[in-house]
């Protein structure tokens, strides 16, 4: 047990810096996944067929390419005029990838919103688009908070791929470096795991809290 504490003590600043890089990756990815995902869901439930198709194509592309491939394309594969930083490319890749899943989850929530809600909104003079934005999607998102929570927990764990792929000094890469320095592999990755748990378990609490506060009682 002493070895575990020893590694943490010696490399504490390293772990902390990796933890915050991971937190940043997760934060940016979350913002991208949530906003793009909701827009994609909106596209998929819009009456216009060609808009639906754009949404469908997005989901098929970003859900069906391995995250690692996506990350490589975004960092190494794009023309030199669009060169992202490592962190930006990583967060963008993870965010766009997760957005496909968010879009599908929110879309399923849209079907839980009754036609009566749409009628009521239209009858007030809202356009179909505003109806979607102000009445349907807010309810759809609230309905799918539990599956969204699972998605974002998965996203947090997926962020561990970014460090190795794009040489970003996130929690995972820090643990690898410490393990290589000390040969204390178990200890190094134990503390990395604890770092990820800190984020995911907090997420679980946030989701539970949101669920009780925002749940729609019909």
């Amino acid at each position: 047990m002493g070895e575990f504490w020893g590694v943490l003590e010696r490399y504490f600043p390293e772990f902390v810096s990796g933890f915050f890089v991971t937190l940043r990756l997760v934060g940016i990815s979350f913002a991208i996944a949530m906003s793009v995902g909701v827009v994609i869901a909106a596209f998929r439930v819009t009456p216009a067929k060609w808009v639906q198709r754009i949404g469908g194509t997005y989901v098929e592309i970003f859900r069906n390419i391995p995250l690692l491939v996506l990350l490589f394309i975004l960092f190494y594969g794009l023309p030199s005029e669009v060169q992202f930083s490592r962190v930006t490319a990583g967060a963008l890749g993870l965010g766009l990838y997760t957005a496909a899943y968010v879009g599908e989850a929110v879309r399923s929530g849209v079907f839980a919103v009754g036609q009566g809600q749409i009628d009521a909104s239209l009858s007030l003079g809202f356009s179909y688009r505003d109806t979607l934005r102000r009445v349907v999607l807010p309810q759809a998102v609230r309905t799918v908070i539990p599956p969204l929570g699972s998605l974002f927990i998965a996203m947090t764990k997926n962020s561990a791929v970014i460090g190795g792929a794009l040489q970003v000094q996130d929690l995972m890469m820090k643990a690898r470096g410490i393990s290589a320095d000390t040969f204390q592999t178990n200890e190094a990755f134990f503390w990395a795991a604890v770092g990820y748990l800190l984020i995911t378990v907090s997420l679980t609490f946030v989701v539970r809290n949101l669920e009780t506060r925002l749940a729609i009682r019909r």
Binding site: G114, G116, Q117, D119, A120, S121, L122, S123, L124, G125, F126, S127, D130, R134, V135, P138, Q139, R142, L214, I216, R217, R218
Partner: protein
């Protein structure tokens, strides 16, 4: 527009036909409603009453004929339909309040987002309306915490907050427990007395007799009777309406 001001008709249906597949729901319906009139639409279920109401504010499209509101064609309004709908309030059988918003927010949403009212003005208007429908204390509640009758009164307030020229009621009391029907009908009766133009699809013949100017009886997609309540109940012309009146009065 000019037509509306000269003849006073607020709503005009001209040989309106509506089909769902092979099923003809409205079969060449002609109907005009003047400003300030309260009209009850009655008829057996499936006769096309609700569909007619929904055609008036364009929630259903029509296949033939024309629907005009305040002189403007609803059927060919295109995107203009949104502005027309903002002038027609609608109240639904299932209330359809927005469950994720408080009572107050339900009422302020339309005026703020559609009509561009400031939050302050919208709130003031909503508060007044809640007093008018008798539940000012429920402003901060969510719809799920209200009884059916209270929800329907909020729905009426929500529609009125848009200051509509016309109110459409689609079986507003059919989903209510009997003891709550009265409170909703009272609000509607006051509205009619204040001169609101309204079209009410309902089976409440007591309300029809007491409050409305005309009863329009629809059967099988056609208007078979259109008369003041007194005449409708005492000198029913068509057999179908007679049968309906007998059933509803003596049940």
């Amino acid at each position: 527009m000019a037509g509306a001001t000269t003849n006073g008709h607020l709503v005009e249906l001209e040989s309106v036909t509506k089909r769902f597949g092979d099923n003809v729901v409205l079969d060449g319906v002609d109907l005009t409603i003047d400003r300030g009139q309260a009209v009850v639409v009655a008829g057996p279920s499936g006769s096309g009453k609700s569909t007619m109401l929904r055609c008036i504010n364009g929630l259903e499209t029509i296949d033939e004929g024309d629907v005009r509101f305040d002189g403007t064609s609803v059927a060919s309004a295109g995107k203009g339909i949104y502005a027309l709908r903002a002038e027609m309030g609608m109240v639904f059988q299932q209330f359809n309040l927005f469950p994720h918003k408080t009572v107050l927010q339900n009422i302020t949403l339309g005026p703020m987002q559609v009509k561009g009212l400031s939050e302050e003005d919208a709130k003031a208007r909503a508060t007044k309306l809640l007093e008018r429908v008798g539940i000012p204390e429920k402003a901060k509640s969510f719809p799920a915490d209200l009884s059916g009758g209270q929800q329907q009164r909020v729905a009426i307030a929500r529609a009125l907050a848009m200051e509509p020229k016309l109110m459409l009621f689609d079986e507003p009391t059919s989903a209510l427990d009997p003891e709550m029907i009265r409170e909703v009908l009272d609000v509607m009766r006051d509205l009619a007395r204040e001169g609101m133009t309204m079209i009410v699809v309902t089976h409440e013949m007591g309300f029809a007799r007491e409050v409305c100017d005309r009863i329009v009886f629809i059967d099988d997609g056609k208007i078979v009777e259109d008369a003041p309540p007194n005449e409708f109940f005492t000198q029913t012309k068509s057999d179908r309406a007679k049968e309906f009146v007998d059933k509803i009065i003596h049940h």
